[in-house]
Structures are given as C-alpha cells and as structure tokens.
Symmetry: C2
Subunit: 528 residues, 2 copies
Amino acid sequence: MGEGGQPIRTTGADMLVDTLLANGVDVCFANPGTSEMHFVAALDRKPEMRCILGLSEGVVTGAADGYARMTGRPAATLLHTGPGLANSLANLHNARRARTPVINVVGDHASYHLALDAPLTSDIECLARPMSNWVRRVKDPADVGPTAADAYRASLAPPGVATMILPADASWGAFSTDAPPQKVLLEAPRPASAETVRKVAGLIRANPAGVAMVLSGAAAKADGLAVAGRIAAVHNVQLFNEVLVAHTQRGRGRVAPRRIPYPIDMALDMLSDVKVLILVGAPEPVAFFAYPGKPGRLVPEGCAVVTLARHGEDLKATLEALRDELGISATLPLPATGAPTDEGEPSGTLTEDAVAVIVARKVPENAIVCDEAATSARRFFALSAFSAPHDFIMQTGGAIGEGIPLSTGAAIACPERKVICLQADGCAMYNIQGLWTQARENLDIVTIIFSNRTYAILHAEMRNVGVEEIGTNARRMLNLDQPALDWVSLARGFGVEAAVATSCEAFAALFDAALSRRGPFLIEARLV
Amino acid sequence: MGEGGQPIRTTGADMLVDTLLANGVDVCFANPGTSEMHFVAALDRKPEMRCILGLSEGVVTGAADGYARMTGRPAATLLHTGPGLANSLANLHNARRARTPVINVVGDHASYHLALDAPLTSDIECLARPMSNWVRRVKDPADVGPTAADAYRASLAPPGVATMILPADASWGAFSTDAPPQKVLLEAPRPASAETVRKVAGLIRANPAGVAMVLSGAAAKADGLAVAGRIAAVHNVQLFNEVLVAHTQRGRGRVAPRRIPYPIDMALDMLSDVKVLILVGAPEPVAFFAYPGKPGRLVPEGCAVVTLARHGEDLKATLEALRDELGISATLPLPATGAPTDEGEPSGTLTEDAVAVIVARKVPENAIVCDEAATSARRFFALSAFSAPHDFIMQTGGAIGEGIPLSTGAAIACPERKVICLQADGCAMYNIQGLWTQARENLDIVTIIFSNRTYAILHAEMRNVGVEEIGTNARRMLNLDQPALDWVSLARGFGVEAAVATSCEAFAALFDAALSRRGPFLIEARLV
C-alpha cells in the first residue's frame, strides 16, 4: 500500500485495519452495529484479521483482556456506540486494573449527525474515560491511521486500556496517501534506577525477617519469581501476590508467593509483622472495601512502603539488579517447595474445598487456570503450588462476571493449551453468553461451575455488617434459588456440552473425561 | 418515625427506604454488592418494599423501565459501584430516550476509602451522567433522605432518569432526626400556553392536507389519541407515532397513527408531503443513522416543525385545548377503522410475517405487547390497529437487548395482564438472564423468539453501504449460527418452559396454549 511512493486511495476503515495489522494486532473481538458497517466491510477485505463475535459486549472486552494477558499483545475490540461501550465497561475496568493492553474501537454516528441527537447518541468520551487510560475521537478519514497507531502505543507503554472513537464518516470517507500504515516502534521498558535498587537493598539488609515483597506483572511470572525467590531465600523476605492476581505462573518447581487474602481480617493478619513492604509492579495493597472500625490500609502502622519498580518498568531486570546488588548468585539453587500434606483424593459429598483439591491434583502441565470462583475455591491457590506447572489468571477489578470471557480470550491466545475456568455461579451469570463463543471457536476450555445457588460472598458480608437473621427481602436478593439454574441446559443452549456432578467421585471422573477431550465442556459441581 | 416530634435514631440506609416508601416507590429492582449490604439490611427490615433480583444489571434497569412505563411511577434500582452501573447503562439509555422515570441507587465505597483507589473504585459520576438527567452523590447519613426526595422529584418532573450515589458510610451511618421521611409534592403538569395552541390551530387551518402530528407520551395513549383523532378527522391531519414508541395503546376502536419507519427511504417517503409537522411530546424525528448522501432530518425541505407541547407538559389537556380552539366537539364520533384485508390464518412454512399476523390476530384484550423484534415483526404494528385493545411498548433508544427485561418490568407492574414479548434472537442475547427473573416471580409473559440465526438488520445495513458479497469475517460477525442457539434449552436452564415451532400451525397452537396458561413461556419461532 503506497510503498512505492505512489499515492493510493483508501478509506479510514481500511487504514484502521491496515494499521492494526501492521502492528501485529490480528485478532478483533467484536459486537458490531450499524455505525460500524464500513469497518466490518474493511475487515471483510482483510482475512488476516481474525474476527471473533461475542453475543454481548462484556464477552468482547473480557475476552480481549484474557487474550492480551496471555500474549502480552493487545487485541482490538469493536463496539457499537455509547451503549455498546457501556455494556463492555465492567470488563474494561477489570482489564485496566489488571494493567492489560486493550485497543477499543467504538463506532459512533457520522460527526455531522451528532447535532441531531438521534436516539443512539450519547457522550461516548464521558463513558470511556473512567475505564480507559487513553481516549481519543478520530477527526476525519486521514486521522484514522495516526489515531490507531497512537492507540496501539498507548495500550502498551505502559500497558493499559486505549479507546478510540470512530465516527462513521471518518470510517467511510476516502482519502489519498502515499504513506504506508504506521509501524509503531516501542522503546523497551527500563529497569528502575540504580539508586532505587541500592536503597531497597539497604532496607532488606537492615530489616532481617521484616521485609515483604508484593510481586506483579513480569515479577509474578516464573522467571521473575525465581529471581525474587533467591532474594527471599537468602534474606528471609516474604513474597506475596496481590489480592487479585492478573497473571502468575505456579506449580511444582516454581517459587510460590502467598496471595494477600480478600477477607480483611485475614489480610491484616498476614501482613501484621511486615516492617518494610516492597512493591514490584503493584500498588500498595488496600482493603477491598471499607468496614466500620477497620483500617483501609493493610500494612501495620509504622510499616514503610517502598516502590522498587512500577508497572511499565522492566520488573524482572530490576529484580535481577536487586539480586546482584545483594550479592546473590544468579544460579543459587532454589529451596525445594515442601510437599503438601497428602490429604488423599476427596470422596463422597461434593464441597467447594473438595473441588479445589481435585482440580489442584489434576491440573495438566501447561494448563491455564482462570479463577473466578469467588468464595468457592479459596483453597485452590495455596494448593496450586504443588500442581503441575501452569499459568493462573483471574478477574482483577472486582467487577464480577469475567471468568467465562477471560477464559475464552486465553483459549484464543493459546490454542494448544488446556484452559480450566473455576467459576462461581453468581458471577457466571453476567456474561454466560461467552459460552457460545467457546462453542463457535471450539475452544479447549473446561468450565467448572461452583453451584452453591447463592451469592455466598454477600451472605458473608451481611454477617460482616452485623446481620444475624436474614429476612425475606435479603434472602430474595442474595440467593440464586427458586428456581435453581440448570447449568447443563444453559450450556447446551449455547452449544457447549455439559454434565452435573454431585459427588467427589463423579466430579473427578467428569473432570478426567473433560481433560482427555478437546473442545469446550462445562461441569456443574453441585455443592451441598 | 419521629412524627410525635421526638427525635429518633436512624441510619442513612433506613431513611432511604423510608423516603422511597413515603413516596409510593415500593418496588426495588436489584443486583446488590458488598458496598450495599447496609441498604440490603434496611430493605430487609421493610417488607413493604418488594425487592426483585436481576442476575445482571441490564435486567435490573430494563425491568425498572418497563415497570415505570406501565405504572407512570418510578421503581428504585440498586446497583453496585461503577461496574454495576456500567452494566446497567444501555437500558438506562433506553429509559432516558423513552422519558421514563427511574431512580437509581448506586452504592459506592465509604467516602474516606476512595482515596485509597481500591480495585472497585471508579468515577461513578462520569459514568452516570451520559444516561441520567440528574446525578448527585450523597454527602452524609443526614443527606440521604433529602437526596432521595430530590431524586424522586427529578425522576418525575419531567420524567427521566435520576441517579443517586450512596457511599457506604452515608448508608451505614446513624443520625438523629425528628423529621418524618419527606413526602414530595409534585405540581401537576401544565398544558402548553394558549398562545401556542392558537398558533398551531392557525397552522392547521392554513394548511389543509399538509399537516402531520407526532404523538408521544399521554398523547399516544387511548384518550389522547381519541382527541388527536377528532382533530385529524376534521382537518385531514396525518397522525404519526415516533420511530421507536415508548408506550401507546392500540387495537380496535382506537385511533391508530402510523409509525415513522426505521428504514431511511421509507421514512423520507412517508413524510414527503408534510408541510407542517406538529410535535406533541416528541422531539423532531431524525434519521436513526446517517448514510452517505442521505439527509439526517426526515421532514422535506421547507417543512415547518412546530412544538405544540413538550415532554413534561400536560399533553392530553393541550390536545383538548387545540380541539376546542378548532371548534371540534369533544364527542364527535370517531371514524371507524376500516377492517384489514382478511388474508386468512397463515399456514405452512413459518415466516416472520406469518408470526406477526398470527400474533396480531390472537392478542388478548388488555394484553401488553413488548416489541423488540427489530426487523422481524415490522408488519405487526400496522396489523395491531385491528387487534383486541392492548398496550404497546418497545425499546426506544436503539440499545438492543431490552425486550426481555422490559417485558419483565411490565409484568411486575401489571400482574393481571398478559405480556407478549416479540423478541429478535440477536437482541435477546444481551439480557437473556431476565428469563430467570420471569421464572422466579412467575410472571405471565409469553416470549416469542424470532429465530433467524442472524443480525438481519446488519445484513440490510451492509447492503446499504454497498456490500454485495459477504465474506468470511463479515459472515462470522453478522450470523448467529455455528452453532445455532437452542432456545428451548436456554429457557429451561433459566426455569422457563419453552417449545419450538417450525410451521404456522405449530406456532399458532403453541401460542394458543401459552395464552391459556399463566406464567412465563418461551416459543422459539424458527424461521426459514
């Protein structure tokens, strides 16, 4: 296109697709509408772009989040005007909190049509801003390419959510150009300064047994963990994952931080003896919610909180510099993870703990575990340190409902890997439509529904606020019964095979069967 | 409460429920989260408030919209922080475009917790503003009651969407008051000025056969239509509904305006001979989308567009004043609606037109028809002029996916009436979760899925933008096949009985059966 210096005639929509492709963005999660028809037509002319339909927009952005977490590269999303963007925002919130690169293309009316206030008109910028790190409206057809290139850059440096608003006339309008689609060159991330590294090393030396690190991003991947693990072993440093973990790598042979617990009292307890908390790509951990009479910050009074490196910096190289500064060998053998207490294969009545135990024992090597089990699989993370090596991702912003889309995107990103989605039933209902995308794309995902027929977390929170007796109105808002959801029917309705297990033995057999086949499968783990 | 002048001790949450109840707001559509637990506890103490759970927030606000359209009174909604509000915005957009009263209560973190930027923190005001007519954040516990009273007023005068943001500490905080919950007194809406009425009467007299009226709100209900019908009969005025109709009353014996068509060329054609367009509670009709080379305004050049009365004014009284000004008797017999061409009961292969014809013939008296059939039931509206008298509501903002929630809310509002939801399959997927609420509340709704396995409207729009040959990418984004959705399984999964019809005879028999029983039922009308 125009590479010989000859001007060529193109449209905004074509330039958008060409610019995305030139930068390796070759997957587009989409739920299009009328104002995007020219963009759809342009996509149709470029079969190199893989277009994946979500039946609702939460599926689209949740899948984009999962895809980018596993590839490190953004996917594009295609959303229809303000309401389409609105439907997608909860999972953009999660993506933003996971610091995931996403490029949203939000179609809008032709620019000259906005003044007429047609029914679908809304303030798209205002809707986009809270869940985006970067927002820009395209001015005209020639502005589409530069805006797409800037959106690509904004999505990656540092990683975050970039939203471009594409008026229909900028999309359909033709223009001449002799410039090829812009290939964006990104600077490699840099490690933190030597001064910061020296300062943190000094704190570690000065506070034996009082230092902890919160690891995120590349610091929470296997290689980064190994570096942190050597520092931890030599200097008795506690290692933590964040409360909600965007992406880590776990399993036998890997350094296994503890996760800071969601329940406030457990979190305060876990951090109670920390004198220096070192942040590696993570913000300071705080209480998920405020509770009357309890602190909002999780570190004890007097604890120093120090940032070693920020999101967007080279976290692994920074940890390596810290290791070197502390004079630790890069090949120091890591202490072996102790074997777990062998509690044996659970049997009989199916409980949430039993499901967690069975899954942790059976996770296949190189699987991707996607956890949105909320209250139901709290034991899994600790147990997974002894599983076969695998990746672990979860919903990170507290906007529930991302499990099914997130696992969908992860499976698109990694077609050769098994994806296991641990999914609470209440959360599953927000984007249940994602099962259809799993069926259409024949994705290799086992979804396990923790079917307890309740928003269990809210029952716990009601107790937290001092309510002992639940009455009719609360019961009607906190329980998912009358009628119970029939998960097997729902899954089949979306084209996904499914079965129900009511005992440990039945669950283990179903899970084995699901692991040994390819394609999406849903297991309702009906809990007592 | 405090009525004897004795100060009583209460909480913000209790005052909120008491203020809503004092103003007759006794239904709360809810999808609560942790930050709303004190509000849930307060609701639990007041069984007079009926709490209805939606499994996703689009169900909550769409149902509130349907409830308020049928009662004229707002319901409350309970939404959880920014992401919960975000999920609900598409149907708030529809409610706002329908000019429906809604009171949203959006729970947020405790005010002092916001600075910590906990994972669920977001800019709720910014999210709320585009789809709300009124937004306010509660300051403290004592501010809850006044804010709730103002939200009630804002939702009704003129009707629209009011959003109050309730920090957790304002909800749980206690305070003393000797004032009872505020009962809001609303001024009755007023008719348009005599001067405006005289001016419009003059235009009608001066433009024989050139005047049309667009009727909305009370002007589109049976009594208002009867007044407009007398004016129309005497002065040869064309009567129109808006393109998307928030609420009208149709059927034998009622004046039946034509609906301005959604397809741009049909709309331009229908309005081509209008010289004066009179707006009664409606904005000027414009093209739903812009198309290259086509106008955005629908009236022909030179057409005068005059507002007789605005949304929020007394539309029926204004029409009566206009009738009187024109010297027309209030008891002038209305011309009989001509009988429709009897095309007989359709038979054989099931088509979308056949479904529309069968439904129009069988609509029971006093039913509520909720139309989100998109392209599929376009004949229904014209035919429904000859149906048994019924109410008609539809999605009005172009944010697809409201059919199931809207019919849910209408059925809550009118438990003694049959609700018939005409539902396109693509649109149905956005808030399919609403079927569960229909099952739980045992609502008397027949949902008819127009199952054509495609976003048919987008295929039409692709042709509108000049695409003749659909390729792989477009087909994958515009078709709902591979796999086809199994609607019967989906409905059963949510606890709703269902069956599929593939012929006119089977559909008619199923529809008869569904009409003769009580409770939710879904028919997949599988179209060829």
